[in-house]
Symmetry: C2
Subunit: 514 residues, 2 copies
């Protein structure tokens, strides 16, 4: 057994059985070890942003980490943006970053870089293995670190000689750390606020938007006349018939302020106080009403379900029935194709237990309402704002849940950051339907240009916000990577394509020209 | 005038007139300012690796920095791999990284990250502008820092309010720092070594491989019977008829050791002692013969041309004629298409003053010999080993040199990291011919797998090194981004396509199926 084999064996013993990879020479012993370890599935990405985004989507749906395999500092660097998103999603991920052999590092070969420096901004845990015998223990510690509630990114740097030298053992999994108990004083303060008769709003994320969390929050809201909101971006939320339909804090600051207006007590459940996504000249960045009292029921990593149950009991809400929605599908749309008719078609046709990965940006405005009472499904957002998460996360979700249909709701500009994901979807024959909203612009930036107080864009500015000249042809791009695709410019064509994809295994891309 | 306008005005005053961009909301005032500054050309990339790789290619050919415009930490992160390559190329680049407004940073909004942390491993200079009035001075300092010999990456972090608040001035350019004089003792030691009669080898890079440097080195070599080598990877080297044909230190360690064997004095000219690209079990990482004496004539940033001239004088080589090559083109190939026939066709057809960007990896072995006596051209290598530099650098070189034909010699696996470059080539109508070596594998890894001492790859390992299942269709990918393309499977088709592209303005891709 060598270090690489001890690493893989330790991962498998700890329940990690998927590795998203983009290896290079310094990782060849890890690659070789794959054939000795039947418990580990390896999924190749053609770019590291695909690898890390897939690990994020996988973790959100599997509830456990995948590992990644990345090639030295620059390989890690290519994966950092989606690790940023994963960090914001609190996704557990174990990165394995190959490094030059211990004795080679000092020579400053071309690929030498400060791997620790690249890893630090996104990692909650970093370690460099310094010998083959240390690898197994380091691997077990990495898995444990990734699972520290609420979940974090653990980066294990693996010098090539620690992978190829002989190793002695596979390490036993370390205990999985538990949630921190909620503060009883915080629970009491929230109960008092809810019983005060003053307007209360619960802002939810994390465990607060799990099925159990939402049911408890809904009971509390009904009992106390409180309002519920979810954060603008949520890593994973159950939705649809039989679930509580949770409104979200709107993206634009002025709409968010309006939504939260009148709140006297803002109760934070597994989240923090709401702030605007960007700063705007002359506008506040903090969105809670100035005169409201902010109560933090739980922070990430704390036992939110216990705290919500205690609050429900404290306000006498146990007997309430959560406000579950029924199954109501819209009719299939006719006529023109636009973001509204696309959302309508999706609501009409969405399969049971689908997984919606939302990177639709401005084209997605109609999706929440049109799918709120569709069959039960999960909804995954872009949590860190770094576009290019949608296609990789859809890939990862499909690997985690091979029996469910994944629907990637994908803006065109964002799609181009990690378009290589399509190839892996084709190779792995993932059941992913990609709805590609092709409006041929960075539409959000055309809105934001005005909102930040810049003057009307001139031709040079407009050319920076525009994706035409030339138009992207996503049908050709999909074909180039082995994914069948069709272009739709009217609702009837779109409906047929969507229904056809839902009925057919494997990936399919619909370019919806808007 | 606002901070963004003062920034652009200062750049233009300092001679920076191209900006490669991928902006977001926090950079909208910079984008707005483009229309107020006619001296700045803005070139949009659909992914940040395109932006930074283009800035690298531009700097190598223009001899001055472009600026980049990147969206917060994650946008910078996506550009880091090609900044790593640029750092190894010693390319001057000024990054402008947008940041949240100064008062917004502390709120930990979704896109907040440790930008300084991301920037540090690749940047020689980093500064955060803290007010609109500071921006002009910071911009001038950034340009000066980028130009510090031999060239480095300067990263200016621009909080949004420093861009939108009023500013007073455009800053005067700061003095461009000069080269450090070479150490006279080092010059004397090198002269003594060359006059010793013992076997000497000059290892060249940087200014040593400029036309003037090569001519001096060739005179010295002839006078003293010394050998010349260039580093394995060089940022830019003049080649072809009328230039000195410089052999390179081979990539594989055992071949490099063989090439350098017998050297008694290894003279380093604007470079450092050769080391192997990766470590291999049981093999030395340092490539110079164990018993040779290493003399450093100059380090990067020192006045290499002066030092070489002094050495030439010291050994009495002034009267020698450099070993310039003549113009000898191979015949056009016939029959099968393979890396050798592709190299032959290129040698036969290469236009005068072409710029060859080499990311051909294993498919490129025949290129140096077949183009050594082609018409004068420049040759650009992947300096940092992070694949995905070829297409962006070709784009940047084309922007820098609009009157010259750029030829991207591009491996398929590497192409996929920054394939979005094609769209910008189409938009800007760059004269780039892409020769896409489509061997449908990570061929280098199949070689390295054996070399690192891993056993024969099993099916899982092989699937990590293989790009088929499905085959990539680069003609479709090019069409998807507006670049005309053709597939060639025999030499005649390839010859015609290559000649056609050289005769036709704009980008063109030839998928050479191997």
């Amino acid at each position: 057994m060598n270090g690489a084999q001890s690493l893989l064996g330790t991962f498998v013993a700890a329940g990690i059985d998927v590795c998203f990879t983009n290896p290079g020479t310094s990782e060849m012993h890890f690659v070789a070890a794959l054939d000795k370890e039947p418990g580990m599935r390896a999924v190749l990405g053609l770019f590291e942003g695909v690898v890390t985004g897939a690990a994020d989507g996988y973790a959100r749906m599997a509830g456990k980490p995948a590992c990644t395999l990345l090639h030295l500092g620059p390989g890690l660097a290519n994966g950092l943006a989606n690790l940023h998103n994963a960090r914001r999603a609190r996704s557990p991920i174990v990165n394995v970053v190959g490094e030059h052999a211990t004795y080679h590092r000092k020579l400053d070969a071309p690929l030498t870089s400060d791997i620790n420096g690249f890893a630090s901004p996104v990692s909650g845990w970093i370690r460099v293995s310094e010998s083959a015998d240390a690898v197994a223990g380091d691997a077990a510690a990495a898995v444990q670190a990734a699972l520290l509630p609420p979940g974090q990114i653990a980066t294990l740097i693996l010098p090539a000689d620690t992978a190829w030298n002989p190793a002695q053992r596979i390490a036993t999994p370390l205990p999985v750390p538990g949630l921190t108990p909620a503060d009883p004083n915080a629970i009491e303060a929230v109960i008092a606020a809810l019983r005060s008769g003053e307007p209360c709003t619960l802002l939810l994320n994390g465990l607060g938007v799990s099925e159990a969390g939402l049911a408890l929050a809904s009971r509390i809201a009904q009992q106390c006349g409180a309002r519920l909101f979810g954060d603008t971006f949520i890593a994973r939320m159950p939705r649809g018939a039989g679930r509580v339909d949770l409104p979200r804090v709107p993206y634009f600051a002025e709409q968010a302020e309006e939504a939260l207006a009148g709140t006297r007590h803002l109760i934070l459940v597994d989240t923090k106080a709401p702030v605007s996504f960007f700063a705007y000249p002359g506008r506040a960045s903090e969105l809670a009403p100035k005169d409201c009292v902010i109560h933090r029921l739980t922070a990430p990593g704390e036992d939110t379900l216990h705290a919500l149950a205690a609050v429900a009991e404290g306000v006498g809400a146990q007997g309430r029935t959560p406000a579950f929605g029924g199954l109501v599908r819209p009719a299939l749309p006719r006529g023109a194709l636009n973001p509204a008719s696309i959302a309508q078609a999706l609501g009409a046709l969405l399969p049971e237990q689908a997984i919606l990965v939302n990177e639709a940006a401005t084209s997605g405005f109609a999706l929440p309402a049109m799918t709120a009472q569709a069959p039960p499904h999960d909804w995954l957002d872009l949590t860190g704002g770094s576009i290019g998460m949608g296609l990789p996360a859809a890939l990862g979700a499909a690997v985690a849940c091979p029996d469910r249909r994944v629907v990637a709701l994908q803006a065109d500009g964002s799609a181009m950051y990690t378009i290589q994901s399509l190839w892996t979807m084709a190779r792995e024959q993932c059941d992913v339907t990609i709805i590609l909203f092709s409006n041929r612009k960075y539409a959000i930036l055309q809105v934001e240009f005005m909102r930040v107080g810049a003057e009307n864009p001139g031709p040079k500015a407009m050319s920076m916000l525009d994706l035409s000249r030339p138009d992207l042809d996503f049908v050709a791009l999909a074909k180039g990577m082995g994914v069948p695709a069709v272009r739709a410019t009217d609702a009837a064509t779109f409906n047929d394509a969507l229904a056809g994809s839902f009925a057919t295994p494997g990936p399919f891309l619909i370019e919806a020209v808007l």
